[in-house]
């Protein structure tokens, strides 16, 4: 437990009152409480957060109600498929049906699962690699800095989607693992850059020298003193990157390199809808709206977090 606390503290996570075993008496407000309060004032960011929560809840609970109410997202009922294909929105099928008579609402909901899993895991991978790379580059500097940053430059030099397609082709088109793996492996350089510059500026603070003067070890200084002060831009960037990763997944699936039919993903649904753009526009509309609103929600939340975490915005 204590070790867990240490870990959480290193990331600036835990409210530090509890490990002193004392109740908070004074008006001392943590930076986190301050940030939350500022975030609450930002209506757009809250709207984004609410939408993300809705999408997450719907995706998590999908198995409980979606197949029963809306129909199976994958199975094709061959007996009725002919009458049910390409129907417009109705009470029975709120988002209409696709060319094989499957309920689009059901497919959009299951597509949300894919998008969220890919988005979150891809960003987790890129943050993990990016933080380590950025921290090493900034703290050790010199040759390490050069090697890591030139490597990042090489990654930047490749056209992103083409690089992702190539990587998936190499890893194999098996399922979503390779999709988030590819996005995560390709996304770390920007996180590393942001974190590097953040650490570089935090490193100059006198409290870092003060910590060394207290006899703290390099790792303690890096994780306990620099990281919590340098991580704010990463929180912001990571939130926005989830939106970006969802978009990339959609693009890859659209191109046939992501989630494979019959499994639904917002990207491959759009791809299916291309042929029916004029005859059944609802097929394109709803997955498109899902992508738009979800990506927008992450970007708005990220934007709000940036303002909320900015210490200079303090009233």
């Amino acid at each position: 437990m204590t070790q867990d606390l240490d870990k959480l503290q290193a990331t600036g996570g835990v409210d530090l009152v509890q490990d002193t075993g004392l109740e908070l008496m004074g008006p001392a407000r943590s930076l986190r409480a301050d940030a939350l309060r500022r975030l609450r004032k930002n209506k757009l960011a809250i709207a984004g957060l609410v939408w993300i929560v809705i999408v997450v809840l719907v995706a998590i609970t999908a198995d409980l109600w979606v197949p029963r109410w809306l129909g199976d997202p994958v199975e094709i009922d061959s007996t009725t498929a002919a009458q049910r294909m390409l129907l417009g929105p109705s009470w029975e099928h709120p988002f209409g049906t696709d060319k094989l008579g499957r309920d689009i609402a059901s497919r959009v909901v299951y597509g949300a699962r894919v998008s969220l899993i890919v988005g979150v895991l891809a960003v987790a991978i890129m943050v993990l690699i990016g933080l380590v790379m950025g921290a090493i580059a900034a703290y050790y500097g010199g040759i390490w800095d050069s090697i890591i940053m030139r490597l990042a430059d090489i990654f930047f030099a490749f056209p992103y989607i083409l690089f992702a397609i190539t990587l998936i082709a190499v890893l194999g088109r098996r399922g979503i693992e390779n999709v988030f793996l590819a996005i995560g492996l390709l996304g770390w350089p920007s996180i590393a850059r942001v974190f590097r510059s953040s650490v570089l500026s935090v490193k100059e603070n006198e409290y870092v020298d003060a910590a060394r003067a207290l006899g703290a070890s390099t790792w303690r200084i890096l994780f306990r003193h620099i990281l919590p002060n340098a991580v704010a831009p990463i929180i912001v960037y990571a939130t926005m990157s989830i939106g970006g990763a969802i978009l990339t997944e959609a693009a890859l699936s659209f191109l046939g390199m992501g989630v494979q039919p019959p499994n639904p993903s917002w990207g491959n649904m759009l791809s299916d809808a291309r042929a029916f753009m004029q005859s059944a526009p609802h097929m394109m509309l709803f997955p498109g709206l899902a992508i738009l609103t979800t990506v927008l929600a992450f970007v708005l939340l990220g934007d709000g977090l940036r303002d909320a975490l900015d210490v200079k915005m303090k009233e």
């Binding site: 008496m25 001392a28 943590s30 006899g215």
Partner: protein
């Protein structure tokens, strides 16, 4: 027994793209238990680098120890491993930094930060360290210490933060406390309080203090010995009274003259030392102070003076420090009584 701290002909240069910066160029002094040494000089005279060298906090590269030794209780600290250095820092040798506004980590509570050295060096549990931190806050004169320990740095004023920094430095009962311009960033009234606090604590703990400042007035009350630095070199060293009342180097004269006087009968402009400190890459030939020295003679730009003992325990690096007539020039301009007035 070996003295607490010995610095022996210590030289530390920075190797930069523009050339070799001779930041500390041959400093020698000793520090005894409970003693206070005032290190005085302009910006860039090597005061802070000397302090950071004792803490082994000078980044290497670009810094490099060229010669000399620093011994703590007889053991050279230059040969210590990183781990051994960490055991010394904050534990036996502690440091107070110049700007209390930036020396505390904004994401942790004051109490936690004071507890940190105790957790690092004394293996105290979180709760014990916290209680000790509250006790330390009381000692440095923070009212309602229990509640204030829970505050974050941004809720403290500059003076309170410097008190917290002192509490942090004192947490492990260090043998040496290095204070690098501890009052420069504070109001004059708070300055006096902080200096008083340091003196009080020194009387209680018997730790030695190295007080670095560019203000002779600050060290006047506190220091037992004074080391005057110029361009990385010691130009004068001696007991505080000797340096104040019988200064033997024109640079020290300049520093003494530039202290604002409150007892002046008529309105007088301040007397600054003219010119700029020299570039530490291209030091002037001979005595580094000679281009700015109002008393310079032709020899000064040719012969490099060495710090020599002029009177028992009183050293000067002026070629003419032996010459009573030369020294008398200063005494004629400012009578001794006036000099002592200024200092008080």
């Amino acid at each position: 027994m070996a003295p607490l701290l010995e610095i022996d002909d210590f030289r530390l240069y920075f190797y930069t793209r523009d050339g070799v910066v001779k930041a500390v160029d041959g400093i020698t002094f000793t520090l005894e238990e409970g003693e206070t040494l005032g290190v005085v000089g302009e910006s860039g005279s090597g005061k802070s680098v000397t302090a950071l060298s004792i803490m082994r906090l000078v980044p290497e590269p670009p810094g490099k120890v060229v010669s000399g030794d620093i011994r703590f209780k007889g053991t050279s600290i230059l040969g210590l491993s990183e781990k051994e250095q960490q055991r010394l820092r904050g534990n036996r040798i502690a440091m107070i930094f110049q700007d209390p506004m930036t020396s505390l980590n904004p994401v942790y509570r004051i109490g936690q930060q004071i507890a940190e050295p105790l957790r690092l060096h004394k293996n105290l549990s979180r709760k014990e360290a916290w209680e000790a931190a509250v006790e330390l806050l009381k000692q440095v004169g923070i009212p309602q210490a229990e509640a204030r320990a829970r505050s974050y740095p941004h809720e403290f004023s500059g003076g309170m933060r410097q008190r917290a920094m002192i509490a942090m430095a004192l947490a492990c009962g260090p043998d040496i406390l290095i204070a690098d311009e501890p009052t420069t960033a504070l109001d004059v009234t708070i300055q006096a309080q902080i200096l008083e606090l340091m003196q009080e604590i020194q009387q209680k703990t018997r730790s030695a203090i190295i007080l670095i400042t560019h203000d002779l007035g600050v060290v006047a009350d506190m220091a037992d010995h004074i080391l005057v630095m110029y361009a990385g070199k010691a130009v004068e060293y001696g007991r505080a009274e000797d340096v104040f009342y019988d200064p033997l180097h024109p640079y020290t004269w300049g520093l003494l003259e530039s202290i604002p006087r409150h007892d002046a009968e008529t309105k007088q402009p301040l007397t600054p030392i003219k010119g700029q400190p020299p570039s530490l890459i291209n030091l002037p030939a001979g005595c580094a102070f000679s281009p700015r020295c109002a008393y310079a003679r032709p020899e000064c730009s040719r012969v490099t003076p060495q710090l020599t003992e002029i009177e028992p325990g009183h050293y000067s690096a002026c070629l003419f420090a032996y010459d009573r007539e030369f020294i008398a020039q200063f005494e004629n301009r400012v009578t001794q009584s006036e000099a002592s007035e200024k200092v008080r």
